[in-house]
């Protein structure tokens, strides 16, 4: 009995994921299954898990450790009874975003979108929104590095058409 339970705990199935730049990551099966994209890879083909390497085309290896850390922690939060206090979740989320540049945040949003995980995507899109909340048009453009491809006349026309959105501004 004891030996079988210990062997099952040491034999947690691992799945190998390959980031866009070719680096491999060995990930425990339940963590990998948080990603719908990985999950759908194995649907109807569960035996393939051992030797298959799942290519993640849009995820750079730079972000993999952080993303996997997010899955591990949040799935633990979900399972815990009673649920963890809001402060604990908040503290983890804040630490997660700390030191992430806007560029890194955008790359991670693309990664989350590719991996098709609602929770991570929701979290990151809200974080992005918070960084531009109540900022001016100019700020938002510079912030994301958006190139303004309007001629001054075109922009003036669009501003006039949406004048109601530009009056009574309460920007930071």
């Amino acid at each position: 009995m004891a030996s079988s339970s210990s062997s099952s705990s040491t034999q947690v199935k691992k799945i190998t994921l390959k980031a866009a730049d070719g680096k491999h990551f060995e990930v425990e099966e339940p963590v990998a299954m948080e990603m719908e994209t990985v999950k759908s890879f194995f649907v109807g083909n569960e035996d393939a898990m051992k030797d298959m390497v799942v290519p993640l085309l849009n995820v750079s290896s730079e972000h993999m450790p952080a993303i996997l850390d997010f899955y591990r922690n949040h799935s633990e939060f979900r399972k815990r009874t009673p649920p963890p206090p809001a402060e604990e979740v908040k503290a983890f989320n804040e630490a997660f975003l700390e030191n992430k540049s806007d560029e890194q945040l955008m790359e991670m949003i693309m990664a989350a979108n590719f991996l098709n995980t609602k929770e991570l995507l929701n979290f990151l899109t809200e974080a992005a929104a918070n960084r531009i909340k109540n900022k001016s048009v100019e700020y938002v453009r510079a912030f994301f590095g958006i190139e303004n491809d309007f001629t001054p006349e075109e922009e003036a026309r669009i501003r006039a058409e949406n004048e109601w959105a530009f009056d009574g501004l309460d920007e930071d």
């Binding site: 995507l121 899109t125 900022k135 590095g145 958006i146 190139e147 303004n148 026309r157 959105a165 009056d167």
Partner: protein, 571 residues
């Protein structure tokens, strides 16, 4: 027309000037970031919409000038949230004519919304007061465009203008007399365009401050409607019942603070799961028949007698009546007909006197402020939570699974046997409950005289955890005395906590007791009274841990006492 063109020209000139200035400053920024890719613009449109959904609507609209791609993203943004910060920033409703021109652009944006195949408007929300006929027809048109865009969630909140009229400058008032007259005449309800009641795309409909009427030729067809909430709506029984009959997929209905509806009929709506009816003026009757509904909540203050008929709704799990006109026999019969009922809550139902409930499925039962209840007979094998807040009553309880009891009794001064009755009531729980919360309004309420203690056994001899809350402390107050009382009421208790307000601050004192074995009665006569069949707690108490807490729940002091020391402190 000329005036309009002039204003437009000025606007355009202004905007050009602004953009030129902005463009210059932006060029500087651009040089430093020239190598960076426009990452956010690479994101697919649904993701951009997702990011935008966390921003104030006005800012969402402003993203249209970022770039061509962003303009397209704005054009397909599926949510519209219009409130007074958009309609009338800086109180501009005082100058309505001027403002309407700006609002025409808003209307055009809404009209020109174009969605790709199979995509429709997700949400349209408008929250405003009504100012003048021109503005009302603007609201009408906006709603029609939303419906034209196959809106899924429609939420309208029309508020009464009352307070703002009072704040209005009298000078402006006199000039706008016809408008004010309009406002005062019809300020209470907004006439909802009947087309809303035929919108096949609507899944969620929330209306506040609207008047619902149904022209003869129109049949309600809300084929996709899942949830409907009507608040402060004026209508009549005919319209409401036609409306309900025209929503075959409805799952949730809320009708509150409405007027003019005399009766509500809910028949055969197979998917209906949740009904909430609250405080509707003039409502006389609710009929429910053949519903799979699992949750029903009715709050109807007793302005006029109110009739509820519930037949063949066997899936009902949660039932709540607040200030409803229901009688003992009716309730008893209804509960008999509900084999799956799990949660029952009765609040301020003044007709209830002798409640008799027999339900093997019931798990939670709460009664609050039903002032005339004198008798409660409960036969509920699976009941785990029982809450009672009211006057003294006779209780007959059969509830083997009971684990949590919350009792809060108010005392009538005329009742001389109150204490004895209270002990008798507590004794009803002695077999069942391990955990008991008690609330009393004054500390002297549960004082049991020495004579009484010798005459009757301790009421809660198997209770393990007791929590007492005292609303008002009257002097002389001694916590030791309270503990002494409680240790007689519940001898050999494991934990005890006492919560009270003293000199304006919340306090909590907790005790943890451990006892010497054996706990068998050894025929001792002692001052602790008749605690048969257990031995007197005073002889077997071993150790006591004490903890004092302040209002934030922080532990301020902790002690550990030996049994003997504890007894010395108490006496």
């Amino acid at each position: 027309m000329f005036l309009f063109l002039r204003i437009l020209c000025i606007h355009i000139l202004n905007s050009i000037l602004r953009t030129v200035l902005v463009q210059e400053s932006f060029d500087i920024v651009k040089k430093t970031r020239i190598d960076e890719m426009d990452m956010i613009s690479e994101l697919p449109e649904p993701i951009l919409h997702h990011i935008l959904s966390f921003l104030p609507f006005k800012q969402v609209a402003r993203t249209c000038v970022l770039s061509k791609k962003w303009e397209e993203t704005w054009r397909t943004y599926p949510v519209f949230k219009i409130d007074e910060s958009i309609l009338f920033p800086k109180d501009e409703w005082r100058y309505l004519d001027k403002r309407m021109k700006s609002l025409n652009y808003l209307e055009q944006t809404l009209r020109n919304r174009h969605f790709k195949d199979l995509v429709c408007m997700e949400k349209f929300r408008m929250k405003t007061k009504l100012f003048g006929e021109e503005f009302v027809s603007f609201v009408d048109r906006c709603i029609c465009y939303a419906i034209g865009n196959n809106v899924k969630k429609l939420k309208l909140g029309i508020y009464s203008i009352g307070n703002d009229v009072k704040k209005m400058n009298l000078g402006i008032l006199s000039k706008r007399w016809h408008e004010l007259e309009f406002v005062l005449k019809s300020n209470r309800w907004y006439d909802l365009p009947p087309i809303v009641l035929c919108a096949k795309s609507i899944e969620v409909l929330k209306l506040r401050g609207c008047k619902l009427e149904l022209p003869r030729k129109i049949n309600v067809k809300l084929a996709s409607l899942r949830r409907m909430h009507l608040v402060e709506v004026y209508s009549n029984s005919h319209v409401i019942n036609n409306l309900l009959a025209g929503c075959p997929l409805i799952e949730e209905i809320g009708i509150s603070n409405c007027e003019g509806i005399e009766s509500v009929e809910l028949f055969g709506l197979e998917r209906l799961n949740d009904i909430m009816i609250a405080d509707n003026m003039g409502l006389e009757r609710v009929d429910m028949k053949k519903l799979n509904v699992s949750s029903l909540s009715i709050f109807q203050p007793l302005t006029i007698p109110f009739e509820i008929n519930i037949t063949i709704c066997t899936n009902l799990k949660n039932l709540k009546f607040v200030e409803a006109y229901i009688t003992d026999e009716w309730l008893c019969q209804l509960i008999y007909e509900l084999p799956l009922l799990e949660c029952l809550e009765l609040c301020h139902c003044k007709e209830l006197k002798r409640i008799k409930i027999s339900s093997p499925s019931l798990k939670t039962f709460s009664i609050f402020g039903c002032m005339y209840v004198v008798e409660l007979k409960i036969d509920t094998l699976n009941l785990t939570h029982f809450t009672y807040d009211g006057g003294m009553m006779f209780l007959c309880l059969n509830a083997l699974a009971l684990s949590n009891v919350d009792l809060s009794l108010f005392r009538s001064n005329t009742d001389t046997y109150w204490n004895a009755k209270f002990i008798e009531l507590l004794a009803q729980f002695h077999k069942f409950s391990e955990m008991l919360s008690l609330r009393v309004s004054k500390n002297e309420e549960f004082i049991v005289s020495k004579e009484l203690r010798q005459m009757i056994p301790s009421p809660l001899s198997s209770c393990k955890h007791l929590n007492l809350r005292i609303d008002t402390i009257s002097q002389p107050f001694s916590i030791a005395k309270v503990v002494d009382e409680l240790l007689w009421i519940a001898p050999h208790i494991k934990t005890l906590s006492i919560e009270y307000f003293l000199s304006g601050a919340f306090k909590k004192t907790s005790f943890e007791f451990s006892y010497k074995k054996p706990l068998v009665y050894e025929d001792e006569i002692s001052s602790c009274g008749n605690s048969f069949p257990l031995s007197c707690w005073q002889y077997c108490i071993e150790k006591v841990k004490l903890e004092f807490n302040d209002c934030e729940g922080n532990s301020t002091k902790g002690y550990s006492l030996e049994g003997r020391e504890f007894l010395e402190k108490i006496y």
